[in-house]
Amino acid sequence: MPTPILVILVFGAMAVVFGMVGALLPRFVGPRTPGKEKERAYECGVVESGDPWSASRVQFYFFALIFLVFDVEALFLFPWAVIFKDAGWLGFWEMLVFLGVLALGWGFAWRTRSLEWE
């Protein structure tokens, strides 16, 4: 197996161990004085109301959605950018067509005010 890949795997394993130890350690080291008041959700001292796990705004989903579309676009930009100099004008135009179509989607999202936070 090539060394760079080995480095990624070994380092990933080490980072996971680092995080796990970091998150487990306070259980054994820190003091433990549990209490009912202490274990309530913190809302600046006010008794909490409502359930935070109920539905939030769909607006967040819009941003994730638009992000995903343009993330896929960016993914196609990278292999093109690598061969951009060899591909010449033709390759450039091919990518501009691709971008142009997706720019329509961006324009639609702007027009329908999906890019806005209200």
């Binding site: 070994v10 680092f18 913190y42 967040f60 941003f63 993330d71 990278f78 950018a81 951009f84 209200e118």
Partner: protein
């Protein structure tokens, strides 16, 4: 000095071979050595980042900053770590206990991974693969789901909202960040970070007309990605207490803090690699020292932002990403294409003028549109639209 770390590593491997470690395991040893070095270096860098930031912001605000523990307060980060360790591990009664444990444990992992793909010096990329740059962006994006989980686990209103906001911010700024890097990839013709540094030589990409634009876009996005001021509204204490890490105490909080600072330094390192010529510089200095110095200067700029700029509102923040930086990054990419084609055609004058003209016009149009949107956004709107 130049090859200090490389020689050290190869002599350690030779030593292991001499002691009779089978040849099949030597690559693993080599990988382990690189990994362990970075694993040790990154937290130390992070500790002195916090010290540096507190000192500098202290000066901005006309105070001393930490100066009690050790000379110039140099041991302050260690004292902070010990203090975090002594805190009680609070888990809210209603929390999802498993996720409350997993989120802080995992949040550092993708941030650590970022350091593998930057060239710390000449020939010092830990994982020198063809697609290193793409891996950097991929791991930077992995933060988002972990942050949502971290906010979700403790079942607290503020942290749920903070987590969702932070994730929306990380996602939104990830796109212009990647696209502004595409312009660099076009010029360098490679996704490998060491090849990008070598492609620049002494002609740093920031000195080209498109490069200057791309650098500014990239740096703004990077500041937002790492949730630093002026984009720190996921942690806006005036509205959301402490954002997604409200309910984490002691070392668990320290892990989030660590992920943030390490991420910001890794991002400075990547910006140096892409636009500031990486480790290239005067010959008499070792390449890794030059690289660290350049990254440190960029981190100073981040601290400068923090000392100077007020926080953006969430609508302004998202608008800036999608209505301004995103189209501008695409235009930058096209300008880089024009620049290259005109130069290969031998029209040097046009090569400077056309890209600059395109960039300037689109910058002007976009900023005018943005300003109008902001002015409109500041007025109370009559009818709330269904959107």
């Amino acid at each position: 000095m130049e090859r200090l770390f490389i020689e050290l590593k190869s002599s350690l491997i030779d030593l292991a071979a001499w002691f009779g470690v089978p040849a099949g395991w030597l690559p693993l040893l080599s990988a382990f050595l690189s990994a362990a070095t970075i694993m040790a270096a990154a937290p130390v860098i992070m500790m002195y980042q916090t010290w540096f930031e507190r000192k500098v912001v202290g000066r901005f605000q006309d105070r001393y900053g930490p100066n009690r523990v050790g000379p110039f307060g140099l041991f302050q980060p260690i004292a902070d770590g010990v203090k975090a360790l002594q805190k009680e591990d609070l888990v809210p009664a209603k929390a999802d206990k498993l996720l409350h444990f997993l989120a802080p444990a995992l949040v550092v992992v993708p941030t650590f991974m970022l350091f593998l793909f930057v060239p710390w010096g000449r020939g010092m990329v830990a994982a020198d693969i063809d697609t290193g740059l793409l891996f950097f962006f991929a791991f930077a994006g992995l933060q988002a789901p972990i942050i949502v989980t971290a906010g979700w686990a403790p079942r607290n209103k503020f942290s749920v909202l903070g987590g969702l906001r932070a994730a929306a911010q990380v996602l939104s700024y990830g796109v212009p960040m990647a696209i502004s890097a595409v312009a660099v990839v076009m010029a360098a013709g490679s996704l490998s970070s060491s090849a990008i540094v070598e492609a620049q030589g002494d002609n740093w990409f920031i000195l080209t007309p498109w490069g200057a634009f791309a650098f500014v876009i990239f740096f703004v996005c990077v500041v937002a990605e790492t949730k630093r001021t002026p984009f720190d509204m996921p942690e806006a204490e005036s509205e959301l207490v402490a954002g997604f890490h409200t309910e984490y105490s002691g070392l668990k909080f320290a892990l989030f803090f660590m992920a943030e600072y390490m991420g910001s330094f890794a991002a400075c390192m990547l910006a140096t690699t892409l636009f500031l010529g990486g480790w290239s510089g005067p010959e008499f200095l070792p390449s890794w020292a030059i690289f660290m110095a350049k990254s440190g200067v960029l981190f100073f700029v981040m601290v400068w932002f923090r000392g100077t700029l007020p926080r953006l509102r969430i609508d302004q923040m998202l608008g800036l990403a999608w209505k301004f930086l995103f189209p501008l990054s695409l235009v930058t990419m096209v300008a880089e294409g024009l620049w290259y084609f005109l130069r290969t055609d031998g029209r040097m004058a046009g090569a400077i003028l056309w890209p600059l003209a395109i960039l300037a016009v689109s910058y002007w149009i976009l900023s005018v549109v943005m300003m109008r949107e902001f002015v409109r956004g500041n007025k109370p709107r009559g009818k709330q639209d269904a959107w």
